[in-house]
């Protein structure tokens, strides 16, 4: 808690804001080598970092590796954190970068390369027959539809997947995502659009097959 002096000269105790709380913990870590303070900082952000890593890597074990790498990196580089951005932005940048590096270093081929999905996306952009958007909420948000999206995200080229997860699931804005991945904002918008079109195509296929199934039943 911080103390301040009120109009009447009495001391008031103000609750620390989130940013001040982080700064306070960082001071304790750097100046007093306070391990409890580091654990508090980690506990505060571990869920978000895990979600971000799991979303981008699509693998529990890779996300766990990323999480460990991220907190090691944060611990070792904390001295160089200058506070020009918030601690959380700095941390998420490290986490997104580590997740992205993890999937780039993976052996084996990915489901689709960007050049493979380009024609698919261009073709789908021209296709506007589908009317499933008017389906009831329980159909759009059904387990099956979400399952289709989850599978489609797994199939996305990693370059598109990282952007789509950070923007549409984790809710960061274009500038934040661009900073995290070291890309330009126009590149983020382009990848996001292509990723969404790919997902839309998979949903189209799913809902169209559902309609056919109902007609034949």
């Amino acid at each position: 808690m911080k103390e301040s002096v009120g109009k009447n000269g009495d001391k008031k105790t103000k609750p620390l804001k989130a940013k001040d709380k982080d700064s306070h913990l960082i001071e304790l870590i750097l100046e007093k080598k306070d391990m409890d303070a580091f654990e508090k900082l980690m506990e505060k952000y571990q869920d978000r970092v895990w979600r971000l890593a799991r979303g981008i890597t699509r693998s529990d074990s890779d996300a766990e590796d990323v999480l460990q790498d991220v907190f090691l990196t944060v611990f070792r580089k904390l001295k160089s954190f200058e506070g020009r951005s918030s601690f959380s932005s700095w941390l998420y940048r490290i986490a997104a970068n580590a997740s992205y590096m993890k999937i780039r270093s993976r052996k084996g081929t990915q489901a689709y390369a960007p050049e493979d999905i380009a024609p698919l996306v261009d073709k789908d952009e021209a296709d506007a027959k589908s009317e499933w958007a008017n389906d009831p909420e329980e159909v759009l948000g059904s387990k099956e539809a979400v399952g289709v999206i989850t599978e489609a995200i797994d199939m996305l080229p990693r370059e598109y997947r990282a952007v789509l997860v950070l923007r549409d699931i984790e809710g960061f804005d274009n500038k934040e995502v661009a900073d995290m991945l070291g890309l330009t904002v126009p590149a983020i918008k382009s990848r996001l659009h292509r990723g969404r079109i790919f997902l839309r195509k998979k949903l189209n296929d799913f809902f169209e097959s559902e309609v056919k199934n109902q007609q034949t039943a």
Binding site: K33, M35, Q46, R51, Q68, W132, A133, L140, V146, I153
Partner: protein, 81 residues
Amino acid sequence: MHCHQVRQLLVEYLDGELDEKTKAELEDHLKDCEPCQKFISTYKATVKITKKADPGEMPVELKDRLKSFIENNLGKEMTAD
């Protein structure tokens, strides 16, 4: 504005980043273009469904493993510094 241009501007349109003139042109096109109306509604629905595909909460056992990892690896570094 043509259909292809409309579809290329959807990210900015949904983020509210288009300038007034471009936005008006796009919305003008939308009024009379049923395929684009359908396209945009399925595009928006896709974004909405995607939000539901989040990985959920971090597993508790992973939190425990991370805590041990930090204590075992960083505790030593902290005192060695």
